[in-house]
Structure formats: C-alpha cells, structure tokens
C-alpha cells in the first residue's frame, strides 16, 4: 500500500504542477482532474475508500465538470495562451517559488527530524464508521454545513430567478399552466443563449 501511496502522491504533485504551468486552460483543467483523482487514490491507499470515492464523485465528477463547462463556453484560443505566457514570466514566479521552497524545506526537515509515527497500516475505514463519526461527535459541524449549503441554495435560486419576474417575460407567458415551466426555462436558456452568442461573436 505504501508504493500505491507514494506513486499516487507523485502523480498528484506532478499533475498539480501541470495545472500551474499549463498554458491552455482546458489542458490545465485536465491536469487538475488527474490531480484530484490522484488524491482520491491517496485516500484509497491510506485505507479511506469512502473519502476517496467521495473525492471523485464530488470534485472530479461534479465541480470540475462545471469548471470545464464554463471554460469551454469561453472559447479561449491562442490569445488566452499568449496572455498566460506573459503572466508566467520568470520574474513573476521566482520569488514566490523560492519562498515556498523554503517552507517545503522546513516541512521536510521537521518530518524527517521528528518521528511522527506515520505508518500506513492495512486498516480500512468503512462508510459506516465515517457515518457514525459524522453523526456522533461531529453532528454540530454537519448541521452547520447543511445550514450553510441551504442558505447558498436559496441565494443561488433567488439570483437565478430575479430576472424572470420582469414584465417582458410575464407578458410572453400566455398559457397560465406553463408558467412554472416557462420561467425555469427562460432562466436556463438565457444563460446558455448568451454564452453561445458571445462564442459566435468571437469567432
């Protein structure tokens, strides 16, 4: 399991480097997806398959899809790569890189110097164990997170609907039984329509 851990850790680090240095936005996103999957593999190797599966489902499977979705709609071409190249000058990244290198050195020295007792054991944490922990000692945190997510959901729903209430849409919706249907559609179609038209303009 230690080999699996180190292999996937190396992949995660390399892929993340690829995200930072990549010039093409979509290619950088692909590296980010690989990096997230590698982190999931690290979880698997550490004996936490539940966390690993959730990492893939939530991050690689849902959040990154939205990222890719948005970046694809922007139709970034050679100009974006040029801009990226201009930003990635030696003078820009050298300073922060040296500073983070020093921090990494400190971390490595600490890890090597002290025995933290970190050993990967063949113990697997089941979904049941995670659930018992979440709804036992960490119940308050779970509830708070749920509240936060609900608030975000309500806010997003409000932001998405606000325009659907203006008069031009209200007039166009003649059959009353389709109001609920049409309103959601107007909101979703509008965002998609805007993106495609801007894409056509830039071509």
């Amino acid at each position: 399991m230690e080999i699996a851990f180190y292999l996937s850790a190396v992949v995660a680090v390399l892929a993340t480097l690829g995200v930072v240095t990549g010039r093409h936005p979509v290619h950088a996103l692909l590296y980010l997806i690989v990096s997230l999957i590698a982190v999931a593999m690290v979880f698997f190797a550490l004996g936490a398959p539940f966390a690993g599966a959730l990492e893939i489902i939530v991050y690689a499977g849902a959040i990154m899809v939205l990222f890719v979705f948005v970046v694809m709609m922007l139709n970034l071409g050679e100009a974006a790569a040029q801009q990226e190249r201009a930003w990635l000058r030696l003078s820009t990244w050298l300073g922060p890189a040296i500073l983070s290198g020093v921090l990494l050195l400190v971390l490595l020295v600490t890890l090597i110097g002290t025995d933290v007792g970190g050993r990967i054991e063949g113990e697997t944490l089941t979904a049941k164990a995670v659930g018992t922990l979440l709804f036992g000692p960490y119940l308050i945190v779970v509830e708070l997170a749920a509240m936060l997510l609900l608030a975000a959901l309500v806010a997003a729903s409000h932001l998405g609907r606000s325009e659907a209430h203006d008069e031009s849409h209200a007039v166009r919706q003649v059959p009353s039984k389709r109001t609920a249907d049409g309103r959601g559609r107007a909101a979703s179609e509008r965002s998609l329509g805007d993106d495609t038209s801007s894409e056509e303009n830039s071509r």
Binding site: P49, G61, A62, V65, F69, M72, G184
Partner: protein, 328 residues
C-alpha cells in the same frame, strides 16, 4: 507444480473472471447494436437488418468490418489530445463499473465496501467523455451537444444518487453483495418503488438513451457531440452507449430485482434473464416514445424526480427508524 499454490489459483481465477466479464460486457454491447435494430424493426412493424446471414445476425460482423476499416480521421481544427481521449473515457469508465456487479454468488470481479459509490464515481467521470469529445471537435453542433449532455447528466446524477440511498438504507450497506443478500425475502422494487422509477429514468438519462437523447438529436444537432468522429473512435462512443445500457440494466437487476435470486433456475440464468428483460425494455422505450423538448427534460428532472427521491428517502428513513429493533 510447486508454484501452483491455492493463492496463485485464486489470483488466476479472479483474473479469468474479470476477463470473462469484460469480454462478455463488450460482446453484449456489440451484439446489442444488431439486436436493437431487429427489435426496433419488430416493434415498429418494419424490417430490421435481415440480409446478412440468418436473421441478419452477421450484421454485427459487417458493421465491425466497416467501422474498423473506415478512415480514422482527426479534423485539423480539433484538439488532438482530447479528441483521442474522449472515446477512451466513454468506454473505459463504463466497463470499469462492471467491476462491482455481483453476477452470481461466486462470480463478480471486486467486492468493494463502497460498491455503489464506485459506480457513481465512474458515472461522474463518464461525463468528461461527452464534454471533451464535444469541445475538442471544434464544431458548434458538437459543442451544443456536449453542453446539453453535461447539463443533463449533472442534473440527473444528483437524484440518481439519491434514488439509490433508500436501497442503501434498507440494506444497511453500499456493498453490492450485501444489497443482494438483503433481498432474499423481498425484492427492493416493492418497498422502494419510487426509488426504482427514478433510478430507471436517471439511468436512461445518464446513458443518453432515447427519450433523453437530446445531446445527440439528429434533427437539430446533426448527432451532437460525436458529429466529427469516424471509424473506431466513433465506434467506441457507439458501443459505449450499449455497454451503458447493459450496465444500467444489470444495476437495476442487482439493486431492485434481487440480483441472482429466483426459484428453480440457476443464479446465472436468472441474472442474465432479468438483465435481458431490462435491455429489451430500454429498446422498447426508444421504439415507443417521442423525444421531449430539452427544457422539459431538465425541468422534469429538477421539479419532479428530485423532490420525489427526497420524499422517498425521508419516508424510508422514518420507516426504518420506527421499525428498527434498536429503536434509535
């Protein structure tokens, strides 16, 4: 034969099983290309492909020859890496999901704790196939198809997960074998009927099958995300769709219809029979239903299926708490 220890034998048998299941899955996908057209012909009162070989069974061979020998063309305006990667993801993520399906008490590739979650993870990764394929083609129709597909799949994956949580709660495990074992007395289709309905809908939507095939609607998108593909790369999208049908059918059988359980016949026959019935049902749906409008599909998912699964999960949880011997 000193090296032929029981351990080696177990490994060899596991490898053999995995290979057989993999080949069977791909074979079933390939076979379905012909079976679907014959069945569509039957149900729509017309001839299917019936010229090559007896009853047209050699049509698969003809199609395979055509796909393999067609020029494998990558458009000059396409993004090569992504263009090649997309069909591979489409096929591989679905084939990997077969890993968790227990076929008979002794057959099945992996017995994971997190069984079902592995399927969700693979379904999540499968979205990239369409997304990358559509984007890298550098074609507006393809991009529109990919957009629709990813929006549809994301929406339907939300309640696909929720629809199965009732089953997980009743079985008390994500493990597929334990879920099958929990259906010894009663199939989950009875207590989890709404979960079954919503999972069926979500399964069709996630595999982009008719009537949820807006991503590739020929009439408006000229085939959507794979319009620029040809040859075997297109073939992988094509076979991948059928592999997806087989996978969703096998999952429905495992989760809601008791897997291999059944009287008289051996387990493998029951499993294959039930799966075949669902594959047939998928084809029948395609033969019978018209394609709804795209926004109707989206609002159906969010406004009907999602609340339904939430209520189903809530009621299931409440009933389990009331009737559980521990009493909470």
């Amino acid at each position: 034969m000193s090296w032929w220890t029981p351990q080696v034998e177990a490994i060899a048998f596991a490898l053999f099983q995995a290979l057989v299941i993999l080949i069977a899955a791909v074979g079933a996908g390939a076979l379905l290309t012909m079976v679907e057209r014959r069945l569509l012909g039957l149900w729509q009162d017309r001839h299917g492909p019936n010229r090559v070989g007896p009853f047209g069974v050699l049509q698969i061979l003809a199609d395979m020859l055509k796909i393999l020998f067609k020029e494998d063309w990558i458009p000059p305006f396409a993004d090569r890496t992504f263009f090649v990667l997309a069909p591979a993801i489409a096929m591989a993520s679905l084939l990997l999901s077969f890993m968790i399906i227990p076929i008979t008490p002794s057959w099945g590739v992996a017995d994971l704790h997190i069984g079902l979650l592995f399927f969700f993870a693979m379904a999540g990764i499968n979205v990239y196939a369409v997304l990358f394929g559509g984007w890298s083609s550098g074609n507006k129709y393809a991009l529109l198809g990919a957009m629709r597909a990813s929006a549809q799949t994301l929406s339907y994956e939300v309640f696909m997960g929720l629809s199965l949580m009732g089953v997980v709660a009743m079985a008390g495990s994500f493990n597929m074998r334990e879920i099958v074992a929990a259906q010894e007395t009663i199939w989950f289709i009875v207590p989890q009927f709404f979960g079954f309905c919503t999972f069926l809908v979500a399964g069709i939507a996630v595999t982009h099958r008719h009537p949820f095939d807006q991503p590739e609607a020929e009439q408006e998108l000229a085939d959507g995300y794979h319009v620029e593909y040809s040859g075997m790369k297109w073939g992988m999208f094509f076979i991948g769709e059928y592999v997806g049908i087989v996978l969703v059918s096998a999952l429905i059988v495992t989760l809601f219809l008791g897997g291999w359980h059944g009287p008289w016949l051996p387990p493998i026959v029951w499993f294959l029979l039930k799966t075949a019935i669902f594959v047939g049902f998928f084809v029948l749906l395609r033969a019978a239903l018209p394609r709804p409008r795209y926004d109707a599909v989206m609002s159906f998912g969010w406004k009907i299926c999602l609340p339904l699964t939430l209520i189903n999960l809530l009621v299931t949880g409440a009933l389990i708490l009331i009737f559980s011997p521990a009493g909470g």
